[in-house]
């Protein structure tokens, strides 16, 4: 038996017990207070953190609205594609990440850095788009390394697809990533960096309709970000459908016959003012913008002297040349300076204000009345008319017919052109107007600058005997098969007597059908009326004229403005060929083919 000599007295142990009990009580009170502080006082704070841990809102990208032509052919649609995103906050080793992106996407390291830097102002959890249109093998490769690179995210995103590729590229335009500058605009208030917007064409013009409404999925996630439960889902809403007035069969046909030219063609339905085709050459493939365009591809588009990205139909500015004689004839008749019995003798040139002005037919046309002057495009007749006119009156009527102002056809960045007046010249060139300039203007030269669209509007107004149609390209907008809005044809009356238009039309009819300058446009049974325009780049007085006009860039521009049939006009066509040379030989036959195709 163990007998111990006790050192501690009963009192000692009791004292210790009491002391320990008090300390114990205090300890537990402190602990409880610490838990009270977290669980009761700061409860809301931690509750939000707990919710932040598990709840995630996932944006589901909406598809962009379709674009279809007047026959419901789909010309812009969407394809689902894999895109690579980077989430900055999850990056472990920045260098490694950049290296990996470079390896997978072949994008320059510097470009990747620039890209990421652009998103500085965005939260670290924002998904920065790095690469679109990822191929399946790359997707698999990246996914296989997710453990190593948790900062990457692959999402399925709708990407724009243009089934007709280059056809109608200037009508459709192209898509591109929104820039920082664009983001600051009121129009793009609801957009975020990394989103795609329409950059030109209908894609830009109808951005607000085409853009869908993104869906949201609220999910519960675990600590590794794996989705455990979908709590709610709001489906994305596809953008509205844009129905164009374009007839894609005709568009395709014209692009085919025009493929070797540089220039522009516009075809309008005179019954409504709806555009049937707009061609601008050279064109581009809008799909190449849907991903990230390669530097070389972009440089080629930007530096090409023929400006493939410019829609020459509304953005190309050219002298109208002899096409302007239609306007001159109208001015002369309306101002009663000429009538149907006025005859001018053409000897190949005429001396006005001490300077000799040449006719294109150097041997002279002989006696010309207004009909034959239009038919033969006689310069001398119009020089003589021009001498009687002042520029401000010419400008007034030119504007009345739609020249020198936007047609508001419904495509972005349309050019104004220029119909000069005396006050304009004084204001912008700080010079007086010289009467000789009026003579140049009277055959469509000088300071005159118009777009093919304006010429199309002018010829349409003539064709409709003074009823100026509102040119347009969007026929209607639909949502879920229901029409949201429809374009109602608008015609504006030009205050000029019908009789005068009939005189002009007779001249234009003869130009095509009576061995005039536009005879190459003649199609049996169609009663096409038209006016050629061969606008020289260099003067005939130039000693090297013969030699230089063989060089492409010194060749004259060719115009042909026309409509058909004569009495109940249905279609107007404007053909413009850059440096095409003789309009009668180049532009007119192209128009003939188009009429044949449309009326066949």
């Amino acid at each position: 038996m163990y007998i111990e000599k006790r050192i501690l007295s009963i009192k000692d142990t009791q004292r210790i017990s009491i002391f320990v009990s008090i300390v114990l009580l205090l300890l537990f009170i402190v602990l409880l207070f610490a838990f009270w502080n977290i669980q009761v006082l700061k409860c809301d704070y931690y509750k939000t953190l707990a919710i932040k841990n598990i709840y995630r809102e996932i944006e589901i990208k909406a598809q962009r609205g379709l674009i279809v032509d007047r026959k419901n052919n789909i010309i812009a649609e969407n394809r689902l594609n894999f895109s690579l995103f980077l989430i900055r906050k999850s990056i472990k080793d920045f260098e490694k990440t950049i290296k990996f992106i470079n390896l997978v996407t072949n994008i320059d390291k510097e470009k990747i850095l620039n890209r990421i830097n652009k998103y500085k102002g965005y939260p670290g959890s924002y998904s920065i788009p790095i690469k679109k249109n990822l191929s399946l093998d790359k997707v698999i490769y990246i996914k296989s390394r997710f453990d190593e690179f948790p900062e990457f995210k692959i999402a399925i995103e709708p990407t724009r697809l243009y089934p007709y590729k280059r056809i109608g590229s200037h009508i459709l335009g192209y898509m591109g990533e929104i820039t920082l500058k664009e983001l600051n605009r009121e129009k793009y208030r609801t957009y975020n960096l990394g989103e795609n917007i329409g950059k030109s064409g209908i894609e830009k013009q109808c951005e607000e309709y085409l853009r869908g409404i993104n869906g949201v999925q609220i999910v519960l996630k675990d600590n590794l970000g794996r989705i455990q439960k979908v709590l709610s889902e709001k489906n994305p809403k596809i953008g509205k459908k844009i129905v164009l007035t374009i007839d894609w069969d005709i568009q395709e046909y014209i692009e085919e016959i025009f493929k070797d030219y540089i220039g522009s063609i516009g075809v309008v339905d005179l019954g409504t003012g709806g555009i049937i085709a707009i061609v601008s050459k050279p064109n581009f493939n809008p799909e190449s913008f849907s991903g990230f365009l390669g530097i070389d591809e972009w440089n080629e588009l930007i530096n090409n002297p023929n400006k493939p990205l410019t829609n020459k139909f509304i953005q190309g500015l050219y002298s109208p040349g002899s096409v302007f004689k239609i306007v001159m004839a109208l001015v002369g008749l309306q101002e009663k300076l000429i009538n149907t019995s006025t005859v001018v003798n053409c000897y190949g040139s005429v001396k006005i204000y001490g300077r000799t002005f040449h006719c294109w037919n150097t041997s002279g046309h002989g006696p010309m009345d207004i009909y034959n002057a239009l038919k033969n495009s006689c310069n001398v007749f119009f020089y003589t008319l021009g001498k009687k006119l002042n520029i401000d009156i010419i400008a007034k009527y030119a504007r009345m017919l739609g020249l020198g102002s936007q047609t508001n056809i419904g495509l972005p960045n349309e050019k104004l052109g220029l119909i000069p007046t005396r006050s304009w010249k004084l204001e912008h060139l700080h010079q007086k107007w010289f009467p000789g300039e009026t003579i140049s203007v009277s055959i469509g030269g000088g300071l005159l600058n118009v777009t093919p669209a304006q010429v199309l509007l002018m010829i349409s107004t003539v064709a409709l005997r003074g009823n100026m149609p509102q040119l347009h390209i969007v026929k209607r907008i639909e949502e879920n098969g229901k029409i949201v809005s429809t374009f109602k044809p608008i015609f504006k009356h030009v205050p000029i007597k019908r009789k005068i238009f009939e005189i002009l039309i007779e001249g234009l009819f003869r130009a095509v059908n009576d061995e005039g300058t536009g005879r190459a446009a003649k199609v049996k049974g169609l009663d096409i009326c038209g006016k050629t325009g061969t606008q020289p780049i260099i003067s005939k007085e130039n000693p090297n004229y013969e030699r230089l006009t063989k060089i492409y860039r010194f060749k004259a521009h060719s115009w042909f403005a026309s409509f058909a049939p004569r009495n109940h006009p249905e279609i107007a066509v404007v053909v413009f060929v850059e440096h095409g040379g003789d309009a009668g030989a180049v532009a007119a036959p192209i128009a003939a083919k188009i009429y044949k195709k449309i009326f066949e």
Binding site: M1, Y2, E4, R6, I7, L8, I10, T13, I16, S17, V20, S21, L24, L25, L27, F28, L31, L32, A34, F35, W36, I38, Q39, V40, K42, C43, Y45, Y46, K47, L49, A50, N53, I54, L220, K221, D222, N223, L224, Q228
Partner: protein, 357 residues
């Protein structure tokens, strides 16, 4: 045997059982997300522990004290063998495998240590250098053996024996001064040469968890979120999002209190604390027949208290994360069994008081 049961402190015993069962309740909750039936294993271990408890209750206290040194030596040898084996066969953990169950020897050595220290303290009036060396020897060897496993948490807890010894006995001042110097030098050396980066990170992040919220501070923050978001009433049993969606680390062992706080709220936490308070209060207030019995009860109870305080403080960020389980509650058979054996000795000592010997 009937006498034992008659004088057994049934109230405290029931408190311990309730604490253990509440542990199993929490382990069941987290077993769902861990996809392992830890609660069944724990239930099995509780049964083993109860059997062990009643076996130990039958052993004479005198025998327990007498065999304590031998027990200490045996367990020390096993620990050493394990350590050497671990060096040779890499990956060998601090477990001894008995069929399907693994036993963590380091959990058990605290019992012979407490017994030996109680023996020593009962024979002296003041801790002199000689006694101090004996104490350091008793603690130092297991401390090192466990620390290099490396199981710093378990090793660290052993220091509680020194603290309570100093508090219970008078000690030579020179020892205190020298010890403090040793602690300072030791901390400096271990910080620079011994501690692994992750261990250092734990300590650094303790002082600034928000800065390391993605890495080493993650555990502290997630634990605080779990407890804080539980609020007054808790989110309900099995409904804790922090544990269900795996944001809480080691939620079946070190952070079991966080699960309790999240699912049962402040009320649940207070209830468990009340049970622990009763346990400690009852075990500290007793009449002892001998000094060594008195010292053992204090040493062992204080050890449990120390572990309890560190675990709980850790879960709300008041103490660095050391990887120490909550006594009786956290998953871990060895821990549970060792505490039940220790408690059995305490209960036995309390029974002795009523028995005429």
């Amino acid at each position: 045997m009937n006498d034992y049961l008659k004088y057994l402190d049934k109230f405290t015993f029931i408190v311990i059982i309730i604490i253990s069962l509440s542990g199993i309740l929490l382990i069941y909750s987290v077993s769902q997300s861990l996809e392992q039936s830890y609660y069944l294993k724990q239930l099995l271990w509780l049964s083993i522990s109860l059997i062990a408890f009643f076996i130990v209750l039958r052993i004479k206290t005198e025998f327990v004290f007498r065999s304590s040194l031998a027990l200490f030596v045996i367990l020390g040898i096993i620990l050493s063998i394990q350590l050497i084996a671990g060096q040779i066969v890499s990956g060998t953990k601090s477990w001894l495998k008995f069929g399907f169950v693994g036993v963590q020897v380091s959990e058990f050595i605290k019992i012979p240590i407490a017994l030996c220290i109680a023996n020593i303290l009962s024979k002296i009036r003041i801790i002199d250098w000689f006694t101090f060396c004996k104490l350091m020897f008793l603690l130092g060897i297991p401390f090192l053996l466990i620390a290099v496993q490396p199981d710093l948490g378990t090793a660290f807890i052993l220091t509680s024996f020194i603290i309570i010894s100093i508090l219970l006995k008078r000690i030579k001042l020179s020892i205190i001064f020298v010890s403090i110097m040793f602690v300072i030098i030791g901390s400096f050396l271990s910080w620079n040469y011994i501690l692994k980066p992750y261990q250092k990170n734990r300590i650094i992040s303790f002082f600034n968890p928000e800065k390391y919220s993605q890495s080493s501070g993650y555990q502290i923050i997630q634990s605080k979120i779990a407890i804080g978001s539980g609020g007054l009433n808790g989110k309900g049993y099995l409904k804790g999002s922090q544990s269900k969606y795996k944001f809480l680390p080691t939620r079946h062992t070190d952070f079991v209190v966080s699960v309790l706080g999240e699912e049962f709220g402040f009320i649940g936490v207070s209830f468990l604390f009340l049970l622990f308070f009763i346990l400690f209060y009852r075990q500290f207030n007793f009449k002892s027949k001998t000094d060594r019995e008195f010292y053992f009860v204090y040493l062992f109870n204080f050890f449990i208290l120390f572990q309890f305080l560190i675990n709980v403080s850790m879960s709300i960020g008041l103490f660095p994360i050391l990887g120490i389980p909550l006594p009786f509650v956290s998953y871990g058979g060895s821990s549970l069994l060792s505490f039940f054996i220790g408690e059995a000795i305490i209960f036995k000592i309390k029974i002795n008081n009523y028995l005429e010997i």
